[in-house]
């Protein structure tokens, strides 16, 4: 602080925030290309975006091994978790872009603006993860959300896309205000926006301040629960997932979840002192999220809706992993959470990439019977769909199996046996509806009366599904090194 109280210009370690800045900056350049280039093709924008993401990934990767720390007046943080999740987000954006163009063309909405929006959403998610300041987290959340609102409504001549955007926007704005209101209360109690201040304020042992903190923390939790799609804040998920263009749904399911779980981890970690209050609440939320997500998914007839409910259930599994870590941080590390996030992202992206083949000539069918006979029209894609569904169910040797298995072990180790049992039962339930997807693609025949739709398999789509499949199958053979890497050993 300077004599008159203004903060001095901070000394800045630019490298820490370089990845997020790069991604956002490439988005801006991509928008300028869309503005000034003759608008014939999106190839230049796609090329630029992919290169930008790769460079951002490089700048994230070289930071592993550098000392943890904070910069920008403690507004940006570098630690292993943040770096891993940022890298994961970059990868998710990369894969999403790969299979987007073919889909957008078939859907007749090849707006060049899609790619900048996707990059900005990614940078928002990265900012959310790479900070311990509540306000910066909020800004990241808004950058992520606003870009997603626009992308969800991108198919403008489709009523369900508009519905998806407006529902997401209204409920998202509501959740954001919960989050912001919570920040205000926490600020009132701690006198600052940094998460570390929560523990200090709590230890001061002033009952009225403790009430303020608890109330504010509860509101923040509601905001983040909405973003992570925990029951009872999940209502938007199936409608938004169904209505949004499939490539947007894919990014939403994977990227948005990674960012939300990362932010939730930061908040819970800082609020460990209040654990006796939030542990029981989140315990029940985890149970309801897993059970409701899986049970309702069984009644769905639309692939995107089914995967939407599946993403709710998966949020529940991730919450179990987080709770196990916080219940006994000495015994249980964070590796299972991150491992499952990676596995979940890969299998969800892959499944949506295959589902995105169902668009042709401006129309799209995503109900189960629209997938009928997919194995004839696109045998490789249908085969890979089986791999992703196997992983979502949790059949060895896929990443999904190992992810759930490690979460199960963690929950047992942390004396959360009820959660472990609910998780196992739910995995069994989920077999029913996941198999329904495979059944639609393989067993059901393409009816001559109502031919199923599917566009050509583009190179980008093949590449995206191939990367996801290799990841889903490959990662399970290297679990031990991956875990050691995540633990920082």
């Amino acid at each position: 602080m300077t004599p008159n109280g203004y903060p001095a210009p901070p000394s800045i370690d630019w490298l820490m925030t370089m990845p997020a800045l790069l991604v956002a900056g490439v988005g801006i350049v991509a928008l300028m290309v869309e503005m000034f280039w003759p608008r014939r093709s999106n190839s230049a924008i796609i090329f630029l975006s992919l290169i930008g993401l790769a460079v951002a990934g490089y700048f994230t990767a070289i930071q592993f091994g550098m000392p943890d720390g904070e910069t920008f007046a403690r507004m940006i943080v570098r630690d292993r978790l943040g770096l891993v999740l940022q890298l994961l987000l970059i990868g998710i954006a990369f894969i999403s872009i790969l299979f987007s163009e073919g889909y957008l063309r078939e859907k007749r909405i090849p707006f060049g603006e899609f790619y900048p929006l996707l990059l900005w959403a990614t940078s928002g998610g990265m900012v959310m993860i790479a900070t311990k300041s509540l306000l910066i987290q909020f800004i990241g959340l808004e950058i992520l959300s606003i870009a997603l609102y626009v992308m969800a409504g991108m198919s403008r001549n489709e009523a369900k896309s508009e519905e998806s955007a407006i529902k997401y926007f209204l409920l998202g704005a509501f959740a954001s205000s919960f989050f912001l209101y919570g920040i205000a209360f926490v600020y009132g109690a701690t006198g600052g926006l940094h998460l570390d201040l929560i523990a200090e304020a709590w230890k001061a042992d002033d009952p009225s301040m403790r009430n303020l903190l608890l109330f504010g923390f509860g509101l923040i939790l509601i905001g983040l629960s909405f973003k992570s799609a925990f029951v009872p804040f999940h209502q938007w998920t199936p409608d938004v997932y169904q209505g949004a263009p499939t490539n947007v749904t894919a990014f939403m399911a994977a990227g948005s979840k990674v960012a939300a779980i990362g932010a939730l981890f930061r908040v819970l970690e800082a609020s460990g002192v209040m654990q006796e209050f939030w542990m029981p609440a989140l315990f029940w939320i985890a149970i309801f999220t897993m059970t409701l997500g899986n049970l309702v998914a069984c009644t769905q007839r639309d692939v995107k809706r089914t995967l939407g409910y599946s993403s709710i259930a998966n949020a529940g599994y991730l919450l179990v992993a987080l709770l196990a870590h916080f219940k006994s941080p000495d015994k249980v590390g964070l590796q299972a959470t991150i491992f499952y996030l990676v596995a979940y992202s890969l299998m969800t992206l892959g499944a949506f990439a295959v589902v995105s083949l169902a668009a042709k000539g401006g129309k799209e069918g995503t109900r189960f019977h629209d997938l009928a006979g997919l194995y004839r029209r696109a045998p490789v894609a249908a085969g890979l769909l089986v791999v992703f569904v196997a992983s979502l169910i949790g059949i060895p040797p896929t990443a999904g199996f190992f992810g759930k298995y490690f979460i199960f072990l963690d929950a047992l180790q942390a004396d959360l046996a009820p959660l472990a049992i609910v998780l196992a039962v739910n995995s069994a339930i989920s077999i029913y509806y996941y198999l329904g997807i495979v059944r639609a693609a393989f067993v059901a025949e393409d009816s001559p009366v109502r031919p199923a739709m599917s566009g050509p398999v583009t190179f980008g789509n093949s590449l995206a599904t191939a990367i996801c499949a290799v990841g889903v199958l490959g990662i399970s053979f290297v679990t031990a090194p991956v875990f050691e890497f995540l633990a920082g050993r």
Partner: protein, 164 residues
């Protein structure tokens, strides 16, 4: 760190405000004379006789213009508060003053450049034109490329979103 007692005046103020408002509305409703004539019961439109229904649909463009206007608003608020500090930094010494001025100037310039790019984009896609929709060239749907030299005829342009 503040204690709860500091907020007491605000709580009292909130309570008094709520009471006064409730009392005014309730009392005038209970005590006031009620002589309804058709003219009195009609909606008030600045003294002019109302015509038509109030639930008309109006173009969504209004919202777009309003949103873009808010951006200008925010920009002015942002620049104003920055300028106030920029003129008299009072950082302790002339060197630190200058450092602060350079730093904040660069930061605000980054913001302004982004803002201007956004503005250029708004003009480029005709967001402020009343009846225009952004257009996508046929080639983007995967159709064979037209020769670059010939200008694109209007008929070749598709309305965005694949149709209205």
């Amino acid at each position: 760190m503040a204690s709860m007692g500091e907020f007491m005046p605000i709580v009292i103020l909130l309570g008094v405000a709520a009471l006064v408002c409730a009392a005014m509305v309730t009392l005038s409703w209970v005590l006031g004379p009620k002589k309804v004539t058709p003219y009195k019961a009609s909606p008030y439109e600045c003294g002019v006789e109302p015509s038509g229904t109030a639930r008309e649909r109006f173009p969504i463009k209004f919202y777009l213009v309003a949103m873009l206007f808010i951006l200008f608003d925010i920009e002015v608020v942002f620049l104003w508060s920055w300028l106030t500090v920029f003129k008299n930094p009072g950082m302790g010494s002339p060197e630190t003053d200058l450092a602060f001025q350079w730093f904040s100037f660069c930061a605000v310039m980054v913001y302004m450049v982004l803002w201007i790019i956004g503005d250029a984009y708004v003009l480029r896609v005709n967001a402020l034109a009343w009846d225009e929709a952004p257009e996508i060239h046929e080639a983007k749907f995967g159709a064979p490329e037209a020769p670059a030299a010939t200008p694109i005829p209007d008929a070749a342009l598709q309305p965005a979103g694949g149709g209205k």
